[in-house]
């Protein structure tokens, strides 16, 4: 695809997304808000798995930490303005990414994956057990609905579905742009080279540990941001947000969409949220259908929905070339 066509599509999607709440009504506006929050999360995950080849089973840890920090601010220090609470959540994601990352540095392959799982579960256990601070399995909730003053436009309640949509939309644009930009920098390229051949990278003078640590910090930051938005969206924090199943949801979304590219990660969030919504309204055993869908998809389209789209557009002659999914 030529850059002009690409730019056209990006603008088209942005315009459609901007008009969405005006046309589609509350229900879909609400759903698409969730899609965008997850899209930020899966795109931050793309940097780990698709871009650097690190399969993490604990990505929800940063998501949950960002969420809990936001909830702490709302509940224990209501005087903190929303943007500050938001920055604190991002910073907590960054710091936890650096701390957990530092402990994961020497691990690769399956050892890495299981260590991430262990760290994720440890944090879940803390959120679950430390009732006095985290509310245990009840989670945290019950803060008063926040009002946010927007320059020029006036003051809005976070309870307002349409306002929350636009807030998430704005944050998503910035976050996803930053992730895309990250992959285009020298550091992003270095991480791709580490995925391709870590030994050669080391002998070329690349400090692999430091490069990965920076990645963990950045991906933690973005995941923390999405976690913070998720708290605004759900109006509560729960240990479920940082457990194993949320981490697996991230993996499943990424694989459904096509984990090897950034667009695919976003498509995955969209397809997953809508599938869960419709399947679960249709039957209690929706996970069974989801499982079958997942298996069929990876059997026939290992590149996920993005791979499927690419194949299709090649067939109609829209895209040339033969890039692997």
């Amino acid at each position: 695809m030529s850059p002009a066509v690409k730019t056209f599509f990006i603008l088209l999607v942005l315009v459609l997304a901007a008009l969405f709440p005006l046309v589609m009504g509350k229900f879909h506006t609400y759903l698409l808000t969730e899609v965008m929050i997850y899209a930020i999360l899966t795109v931050s995950y793309y940097l780990l798995l698709g871009h650097t080849g690190l399969l993490s089973f604990g990505h929800a840890a940063y998501f949950g930490i960002g969420g809990y920090v936001t909830a702490f601010c709302f509940l224990y220090a209501p005087s903190i303005p929303l943007p500050v609470a938001f920055l604190l959540a991002a910073a907590s994601g960054l710091v936890s990414g650096l701390i957990i990352g530092a402990m994961l540095l020497r691990l690769t392959k399956i050892y890495f994956s299981f260590a991430t799982l262990a760290f994720g579960q440890m944090l879940w256990a803390i959120a679950w057990k430390w009732r006095s601070v985290t509310g245990g399995d009840d989670g945290l909730t019950g803060w008063s609905a926040r009002k946010v003053a927007v320059p020029l436009l006036g003051s809005f309640s976070l309870g307002n579905v349409t306002f929350l949509y636009y807030l998430v939309f704005a944050v998503a644009i910035v976050s996803i742009f930053l992730c895309w930009y990250f992959t285009k920098t020298a550091l992003g390229n270095t991480l791709a080279s580490i995925k391709s051949n870590p030994i050669r990278a080391n002998f070329l003078g690349i400090n692999i540990g430091l490069a990965k640590l920076m990645l963990f910090g950045f991906t933690g930051l973005i995941a923390g941001v999405s976690g913070s938005l998720f708290i605004l969206f759900k109006k509560m924090a729960s240990p479920n947000f940082l457990d194993l199943f949320t981490s697996f949801d991230v993996v499943v979304m990424s694989v459904i969409g096509g984990y090897t590219n950034l667009l695919g990660s976003m498509i995955g969030a969209f397809v997953y949220v809508y599938l869960v919504e419709y399947l679960s309204s249709f039957t209690d055993r929706w996970q069974l259908i989801m499982g079958i869908f997942f298996v069929l998809l990876i059997l026939f389209y290992p590149g996920g929905m993005a791979g499927m789209l690419r194949q299709f557009s090649k067939r109609v002659g829209f895209v040339k070339g033969d890039r692997a999914p």
Binding site: A186, L187, G188, N189, T190, S196, L204, G205, L210, M214
Partner: protein, 253 residues
């Protein structure tokens, strides 16, 4: 004269298996130094010791009078030592251009830079194109490295090494698996790109070694048995027995 690279009493055991027994070696500035020896003599192991892949069991390695043993590979590389590999070791999934660019970005110490787009760094682009031209791979710049022919992958392997403009170049069998024609090309390339540099090369092809090297060290059973000029090596009896066998007799006959 002070050697650029000095190995003193270097030994390496893998368990009870002694691979490098006691190696003393000095490589001087600007020389082309070849390391030869039979299979299993420990040539590649020695390269791996110098470049930090393995830790020493005993001994000291100095580069420009500073101790380098015990450092990880990336730190040793940053001091000005770049190596190639006996088994091709490139970024297979990346394009030829990206391969060379990786080496150049690393050498410029901006591998971790995250505020600018890599594509906007003109200096990096120019240097990459210059190296691609020198290794004759400009016309393949956008091909994934894995699709190159074997000889071209060899050229790229050397390209990655010299792209970093190191003071000391270590080439581990750059001609391995090449046809005589390709070997000639590669040697010509090595000659060009290592002018003014210090070179330590492992090579099996004796024509290449005696043509290229200023001095030759012979490694046998984990020890250097001789370090001499090519002419002297040809006359050295110990070397003949250890390694060269009937090579020169055959040539004579």
């Amino acid at each position: 004269m002070i050697p650029v690279l000095r190995l003193k009493g270097v030994a390496k055991n893998f368990g009870r298996f002694v691979v490098i027994d006691d190696v003393n070696l000095e490589v001087f500035e600007g020389e082309r130094h070849a390391l030869i020896g039979p299979n299993g003599a420990g040539k590649s192991t020695l390269f791996n010791l110098i470049t930090g892949r393995y830790s020493l069991t005993k001994g000291v390695i100095d580069f420009k009078e500073k101790r380098i043993d015990g450092h990880p590979p990336y730190k040793i590389n940053r001091l000005g030592i770049a190596r190639s590999f006996q088994i091709i070791n490139i970024f297979k999934e990346m394009t030829v251009y990206e391969n060379v660019r990786n080496a150049i970005v690393a050498a410029r110490r901006c591998s971790l830079q995250f505020t600018r787009r890599l594509a906007s760094m003109d200096g990096v682009r120019r240097e990459t194109e210059y190296i691609l031209d020198r290794i004759n791979l400009t016309s393949f710049r956008n091909e994934p490295a894995s699709t190159l022919g074997y000889g071209q992958q060899r050229a790229l392997e050397i390209g990655l090494t010299i792209a970093q403009d190191p003071e000391l170049v270590l080439l581990d069998e750059p001609g391995a698996g090449l046809t005589p024609e390709e070997t000639k090309e590669i040697i010509k390339l090595i000659r060009e790109v290592t002018a003014q540099k210090t070179l330590l090369i492992v090579e099996h092809d004796m024509d290449v070694v005696f043509n290229l090297a200023d001095r030759i060290s012979v490694l046998n059973r984990g020890r250097i048995v001789a370090t001499e000029t090519p002419e002297e090596i040809k006359r050295n009896k110990v070397v003949k027995e250890a390694y060269l066998g009937g090579f020169f007799d055959e040539k004579a006959g």
